[in-house]
Symmetry: C2
Subunit: 284 residues, 2 copies
């Protein structure tokens, strides 16, 4: 963690630049991963960055009136920063209502991540949602008690975060839950596709924290790695407005833990659900 | 629904036969889908059958000491019964601890389903689980009140089911939840891989029921189709012993609904988690 000065405008601009892919033709794209200093969140390439790059590549092959509604990916091998990622898109289905893409992300010819992403042309129907948990304070209340924190995850702190007391990374709680409010530090353009990439990026944060908390050993060194990752986009979402990310561990066994999180706007709207399984090896 | 006589031994044997794939060489396999009469659960090929076939194909290319721990798939196009499915496996990663496979299921050359499946060599660590809901009666209690039901889903009733009152298909409830106890009618061999296929098969039941219940319009005709499907296998599971499948809708919007379910043994052990999004179009 670092507390960079300024408004964050430079960091958000760098984040937007990160999402600029080079089109190599034939549905192959190249992304650049700037070199980073290691942090405790990251031994190598941040998973959310690879996932956001893969989603971005898929979006670039899909008609603008089809928006992402779900994605499922697997982290296959550790990636590295200071290096390019090559993203190969397969147009597995082009339908009238739904469009599906698979993407393989490679470094040095080896697959590091694979993704299937599904896009839906907007239609009406349904108004049921998971309510925001009643024990969650709003960002304005938390800002009276804490300053927002800046996460460095591959890129320089484009996000600011408010920890929900009792469910934060800094507490050695054994409640199997992590909850935080998070947003980009300055505005993104009004392009839904970019907001979806930013939400995908940040959705790789916190799930393994909830899993580790379920084992009551948050403070100890451990080998932890995301295995798979799924995101469902239920309703329009902006990454530059506060989002509650409320994550519960559901199971830990065989060194694997599954966490499921929901994201909500300040007015409580349930905009996104995330599921991730991770490998967490703790010393005996 | 039908209530076939006898012990179910013939139906379970037919189910095992369904999982026998023909090896065409080069990691391509062929599955046969027997013709079925249409039921209200099914307009065409049952999704769980395609998913089980894809998992089976992946298993046949993986060392026996690596067991499935998660799978993520997308239903791309409707399949048909009375026809073969061709399953092409890609050995995307062979690791010491983890092995990953992608599978594309095709009929008449068109992709109908794609799957990524991840296998893990058994290791120790973790003992947290989602508890069984306190309002769930045990199978023995339900058997005093109802007879088990037999679901025909592509194959002839290898499963028997007990509905949990209040959360069943037969009630026009608007509680966004479906809960049932389900098992194969007779024993399967002691081969964990076959039990995983059977659990995958049955995991495609009930989720869209929970989604429809969240819209309070269970009784009406609707167009409903599974879009994606994810299963996490947390602990050893047998498909021939009662499993509670407890499914909650989490969101419905834009004609899409997400349900998340957990499976538990009679002693409450949390063995499996399932997430599925479906398209549910109801008339205005």
């Amino acid at each position: 963690l670092s507390e960079p000065p300024g408004t964050g405008a430079r960091e958000v601009a760098q984040f937007l630049e990160l999402l600029q892919l080079e089109d190599l033709g034939g549905d192959v794209f190249r992304a650049w991963n700037p070199p980073t200093t290691e942090t405790r969140f990251q031994l190598s390439l941040f998973g959310g960055q690879v996932a956001a790059h893969a989603l971005r590549a898929a979006q670039l092959t899909v008609a603008a009136d089809h928006g992402i509604h779900s994605l499922h990916g697997y982290f296959l091998r550790p990636g590295k920063d200071g290096a390019a990622t090559e993203l190969t898109v397969d147009r597995i289905r082009d339908g009238r209502s739904f469009t599906t893409r698979t993407v393989v992300a490679r470094q040095d010819g080896e697959a590091i991540f694979n993704l299937t992403a599904s896009f839906h042309r907007d239609e009406a129907g349904g108004d049921f949602e998971t309510p925001i948990a009643p024990d969650i304070p709003l960002p304005d209340e938390l800002l009276g008690e804490q300053e927002s924190r800046f996460d460095r995850m591959g890129v320089e702190s484009p996000f600011e975060r408010l920890d929900v007391p009792g469910y934060s990374f800094r507490e050695a709680s054994d409640v199997p839950r992590r909850a935080m409010w998070i947003r980009l530090r300055t505005a993104l353009p009004d392009d839904a596709a970019l907001h979806h990439c930013a939400v995908t990026f940040l959705s790789d944060m916190g799930v393994l924290g909830a899993v580790r908390a379920s084992r009551g050993r948050m403070g100890e060194p451990a080998m932890a790695a995301s295995l798979d990752h799924a995101v469902w986009f239920h309703r329009p979402v902006r990454a530059d407005e506060w989002l509650l990310y409320d994550i519960h561990a559901r199971s830990t066994a065989s060194a694997r833990g599954l966490g499921i999180g929901t994201m909500h706007t300040v007015d409580g709207t349930h905009v996104v659900t995330v599921a991730q399984e991770g490998l967490v090896r703790l010393p005996d």
